[in-house]
């Protein structure tokens, strides 16, 4: 990736993220999130985080690798099991979601 593209990526990511944060605060709190969008947004964290991690586990050097020889996949499943059983608190946003009345419909 060229340096220019990298900086455009970082700058673009920054602008987009700030816009999301500012959105409703700038709208003076007069606008509510439409119910359908609110429902859809509830599924975004689970969907997008899974979409990020799965290729990292299932692909090695760009090729699909589903076998006991894929240590990364095995370790990933072990980690998922541990995180599930112990209800890891690493993701602080789960607390935020629990408290966010609008996020649960």
């Amino acid at each position: 990736m060229s340096t220019l593209a990298l900086w455009l990526s970082i700058g673009g990511a920054g602008v987009v993220t700030f816009a999301l944060r500012l959105s409703f605060i700038a709208l003076l709190g007069r606008m509510e999130i439409p119910p359908f969008l609110g429902r859809a947004l509830r599924f975004v964290p689970a969907a997008v985080l899974t979409a990020v991690v799965i290729p990292l586990l299932f692909y090695e050097n760009g090729t699909l690798e589903v076998s006991l020889g894929n240590e990364r996949l095995l370790a990933g499943f072990a980690a998922a099991l541990i995180a599930w059983r112990t209800r890891s608190v690493l993701f602080p946003s789960s607390g935020a979601w629990r408290r966010c009345g609008r996020c649960r419909r």
Partner: protein, 257 residues
């Protein structure tokens, strides 16, 4: 402990934050310090994310200044971590920005939830407090505000205390991670840090059958969509996952009737 105890007569505050100047409020400094103190335990959970970002960024070929600037400009750990494999794979600017947008969409919910509390603030304050909005800052302040414990103008200072402490901790953690990454690159591999962090993030996001369905459909799609050009697989899988969650919700609701 560590929370600003507010006098009982102030508890009658309405959630809309309509009262601009209450004579009987704490000083801004006291509210700021109360916020900063209240968030300290949460920082312990946040620091590993910052360190992981700094270390994997260096491990994936970003420079120190690029990693630090990303933490300053974006200031959202999960999105930054999601961007790393894309950046190192040479994905297009549009894909990186779109992925960050998806990962950070939840911030609009926090923005909507906090908006009534901040609606009387000048534009500069709105901008500053928005920039500092994170999962942790939202969770820590909304419970405090909704409990009616804080009056405007102390809200802004309480929030600033919480959010600024998070900002400083996250930047320091990024820097620590950068050094860790540079040091580790000589020896052992940080290859597995990224998947582990995301597993630790995604499991608590799966809270019921509908979010489970969202994760499952996203995961299955991701396996097959990873070969799509331009790293579009991530976007495709996320969208299918959201759809899967909505469908599951409809099916479960219909089953109840």
């Amino acid at each position: 402990m560590g929370r600003g105890r507010i006098r009982p007569e102030n508890i009658a505050s309405d959630v809309q934050g309509a009262i601009e100047e209450e004579p009987k409020t704490e000083s801004p400094a006291a509210a700021f310090v109360a916020g900063a103190k209240a968030i300290v335990p949460v920082l312990l959970a946040l620091i590993p994310l910052g360190v992981a970002f700094g270390a994997t960024a260096i491990d994936n070929g970003l420079s120190t200044i690029e990693a630090l600037d990303m933490s300053v400009f974006v200031f959202a750990a999960a999105a930054q971590l999601a961007a790393i494999p894309l950046l190192s794979a040479g994905a297009s600017v549009a894909i990186v920005v779109l992925t960050v947008l998806m990962v950070n969409l939840r911030l609009t919910l926090y923005s909507a939830s906090l908006a009534p509390h901040f609606k009387r603030l000048p534009v500069g304050w709105k901008g500053l407090l928005s920039y500092l909005l994170t999962d942790q800052a939202y969770a820590a302040t909304i419970t405090h505000f909704d409990a009616g414990e804080t009056e405007e103008p102390d809200k802004r200072w309480y929030y600033l205390g919480v959010a600024l402490a998070i900002w400083v901790a996250f930047q320091a953690a990024t820097l620590a991670g950068v050094f860790l990454g540079a040091w580790a690159s000589g020896g052992w591999s940080l290859d597995f840090v990224l998947p582990l962090i995301f597993i630790a993030l995604v499991i608590p996001a799966i809270k019921d059958r509908t979010t489970g369905a969202a994760a499952l459909t996203a995961g299955v799609t991701a396996v097959f969509a990873a070969a799509l050009p331009l790293n579009l697989g991530l976007i495709a899988a996320a969208l299918v996952g959201v759809l899967g969650g909505l469908v599951a919700e409809n099916v479960i609701e219909r089953g109840r009737r």
